[in-house]
């Protein structure tokens, strides 16, 4: 009997030790309901972002088909508006480049810019309508549609003529429609993969198994994707690179997101709003609450304040951004600096408190 008790005690001790080591530190430190936060992200922010992107791309396709049927100025304008809506909807989905979106290369397919207008013209003339290769990346996606709908003429009358009387008119329209089908296929696949009714990635995202903070956990993937997006594709891609911060100070106005449509600031602003919404979790639990629960309320407010600073600097710029850069680049560079302040807070301070490892800078060094 004594023997039995002793072994039971030892075993219990072993079990306890084992249980402790598999727990993550942040679990021990707070009662914060991380599962509820993930559910908020998954069900209220991520999946709806893909669903509204899908809806707006569907609308874009309908508008393009209407334009095909009746090539009028009115239908051209409707189509231009539909493109802008889709590009705005993309801003809400773009920070989530992991799982289904990454697996179809959603960002590279939908939003590679600047576009190669020479390549687009060549492809239009030759009737080349294959999309999805590396070489066609800068001749496809939403920015290429921006060129096709805003950049092929100075006025809408001229643009319309490129789809009616120009020698390549039919080819150009086919290319436009083919490009939209390509975008739609990518968006449909990613959206359906997320949905519970489809690939049910949301189920995996919300599973207990992935509720930790380790490298493969849902929060680990979300934050890596989020911070990487902010750093490389919002701060650098939308503002820093066009302003010349990655080209020894030589501005690259053509490298703005919507050069031909002329609404790059509006897109960047929408994207930054989504970045803030992701931080706060919208109306429900978010990273800000998680930080507060871990005793880092000061950091949480600091991040929020700094995002607001960046937002007001950005909103102080006006479209078209390419013209601002050419006329007076200083406010654009100041905006970049404001945006830069957020990077350290998110990437170093926030992740260390949450216990998240940044993995996207893995570099072999070979």
């Amino acid at each position: 009997m004594l023997h039995f008790r002793t072994t039971l005690l030892i075993t219990l001790l072993l079990l306890l030790t084992g249980a402790c080591s598999s727990n993550t530190s942040s679990d021990d430190q707070s009662n914060f309901d991380r599962a509820a936060m993930l559910e908020n992200y998954g069900n209220n922010i991520i999946v709806p972002a893909f669903e509204s992107l899908q809806t707006s791309v569907d609308d874009l396709q309908v508008a393009a088909e209407d334009f095909e049927t009746e090539r009028t100025l009115e239908n051209l304008e409707t189509l231009q508006e539909a493109l802008k809506s889709a590009r705005l909807a993309w801003q809400d989905a773009s920070p989530f480049q992991f799982g289904p979106s990454e697996s179809v290369l959603l960002r590279a397919s939908l939003n590679t810019y600047p576009v190669d207008t020479g390549k687009i013209s060549d492809r239009v003339s030759s009737g080349e309508d294959s999309f999805g290769t590396i070489d066609s990346r800068d001749a496809a996606g939403l920015p290429a549609l921006g060129y096709l709908l805003h950049g092929v003429g100075d006025t809408n009358e001229e643009i319309l003529s490129m789809y009616t009387t120009d020698t390549d008119a039919d080819n150009r329209l086919d290319y436009l429609l083919g490009n939209i089908s390509f975008v739609k296929e990518k968006v449909d696949t990613a959206t359906e993969d997320w949905q519970a009714s489809g690939g049910d990635y949301i189920g995996m995202f919300l599973s207990e198994e992935n509720a930790g903070t380790d490298v493969g956990s849902s929060l680990g993937m979300l934050i890596n994707s989020y911070v990487k997006h902010y750093e490389r594709f919002l701060r650098d891609g939308k503002i820093g690179i066009p302003a010349g911060v990655r080209s020894a100070g030589t501005p690259r106005p053509l490298a703005v997101e919507a050069y031909y449509g002329g609404y790059s600031v509006e897109l960047a602003s929408a994207n930054l709003q989504q970045v803030e919404r992701i931080f706060t979790g919208g109306d429900s639990r978010g990273l800000d609450d998680n930080l507060e629960a871990l005793g880092a309320g000061d950091l949480s407010s600091e991040i929020q304040t700094q995002i607001d600073e960046a937002q007001s600097a950005l909103d102080g710029l006006s479209d078209p951004l390419s013209q601002r850069i050419e006329e007076n680049n200083d406010p654009v560079l100041t905006t970049f600096e404001e945006m830069q302040q957020v990077v350290t807070l998110l990437k170093a301070d926030m992740t260390s408190i949450l216990g998240i490892t940044i993995t996207y800078q893995d570099n072999d060094g070979d």
């Binding site: 072994t7 799982g99 990454e102 070489d135 493969g216 570099n363």
Partner: protein
């Protein structure tokens, strides 16, 4: 109630674990000469080490210097096919003057014979010279054109062939398979070298080891881990890892390779000392399995990295990663016990990684297909496939 339920569950488990932990003692002979497995890969006879693999160290050094030579082309230098062949054959014992050391060993004679039949490496050397001429003339790589390609994250160039494949990776990682794995799998772990008929009682002339011991150590030498290599390896000691031991460590967190491989090497070597063929064979089976899995896991890691870099719009980074993936998938074909078929390897290399192996034509569907094939073939990868 809880206590009863728990004790019902716990007692059998405890009993089993007691049996397992006592196996070591029961299993060993009471023979005076038999040894217990040491903690490290360290074995002695009369107080002197019996472990030596200088030939393997030499060949690892050769691959390292070949890679460094090819990498000079990244700076726009022209590299010579002749020099690469001299290094491959170790002409005059110093790679035709291209090695910083001398050695009486060479890589070519240890290369997987069908690869030699197909001129796999010599063709790559010839292509590398031609590509480096393009590079020195400022020709940038594109679909169908060999030349320099920028790795977007570092801003450094790499030299790629007309299919976008990076020469340093094809050669360095290619030889890790065609020489190192080939020698482990098809030479040193076979019955011919460590079977029951191999001399294991008398030491070799002028040496402190038996032939059988030495052959096994040569396999270990191609893995080339520090004697105390283990899981949770400290980052501060990463520079002690070379080639395969480095890649073992690369996926150790997900798959525990370091401990598994080291335990098999240590137990296998102990079994040779104890002249226990049965235990040795068990450990050899584990080595075949785990070493193959390291290559498969590393391939999945680089496929993931390729997908991510393509989605970042970084073609140079993506092709670098895909060149690595190419070589680690290719390395799977060297094991006679491989789980994957040659057809599957060919499908991945020549179709999934781009039609006709042309990286410029790679699609996300192809990459996902390659990954799915690897995960299906190696079920251990399934739960960690997105973390690798």
């Amino acid at each position: 109630m809880l206590r009863t339920a728990l004790s019902k569950l716990v007692l059998p488990v405890l009993a089993i674990s007691l049996v397992i932990s006592s196996c070591d003692i029961i299993g060993s002979d009471d023979d005076d000469s038999s040894i217990q497995p040491p903690d490290n890969y360290e074995f002695t006879r009369d107080g002197e080490s019996t472990v030596a693999y200088p030939g393997q160290n030499d060949r690892l050094d050769m691959v390292e210097e070949m890679k460094a030579y090819i990498a000079t082309a990244h700076e726009g230098e022209v590299i010579s096919e002749q020099a690469l062949n001299d290094m491959f054959e170790n002409t005059n014992g110093d790679g035709g003057g291209n090695f910083s050391f001398t050695s009486d060993r060479d890589l070519k004679s240890k290369t997987f014979a069908p690869d030699l039949d197909n001129n796999l490496f010599t063709d790559i050397f010839a292509d590398a010279e031609a590509a480096s001429e393009n590079g020195s003339n400022g020709i940038r790589a594109q679909d169908g054109v060999a030349g320099l390609l920028e790795r977007e994250e570092s801003g450094n160039d790499i030299l790629v062939d007309e299919k976008g494949r990076e020469f340093t990776q094809l050669v360095e990682k290619g030889l890790m398979g065609a020489v190192f794995y080939n020698q482990i799998f098809n030479v040193y772990l076979t019955d011919d070298r460590i079977g029951p008929d191999v001399e294991n009682s008398e030491t070799e002339e002028g040496a402190n080891y038996t032939s059988k011991e030495h052959h096994f150590d040569e396999a270990y030498g191609y893995f080339n881990a520090p004697v105390d290599f283990e899981s949770d390896w400290p980052e501060s000691r990463n520079d002690e890892l070379r080639f395969w031991s480095d890649y073992s460590n690369g996926s150790d967190e997900q798959l525990g390779f370091n401990d598994k491989v080291m335990e098999a090497f240590i137990l296998g070597r102990t079994a040779i000392v104890n002249d226990n063929q049965e235990v040795l064979d068990e450990q050899v089976d584990i080595l075949y399995e785990e070493l193959e899995l390291i290559s498969a896991a590393t391939a999945v890691h680089y496929i993931n990295s390729t997908i991510s870099q393509l989605n970042n719009g970084n073609t140079g980074e993506a092709f670098h990663a895909l060149s690595e993936a190419w070589a680690f998938v290719n390395a799977l074909k060297y094991s006679p016990n491989r789980k994957i078929t040659n057809d599957q390897v060919n499908q991945i290399l020549n179709t999934d990684f781009g039609e006709n192996g042309n990286f410029w034509q790679v699609t996300p569907e192809g990459l996902n297909n390659a990954k799915a094939t690897l995960v299906e073939t190696y079920p251990d990868l399934e739960s960690v496939q997105d973390q690798l």
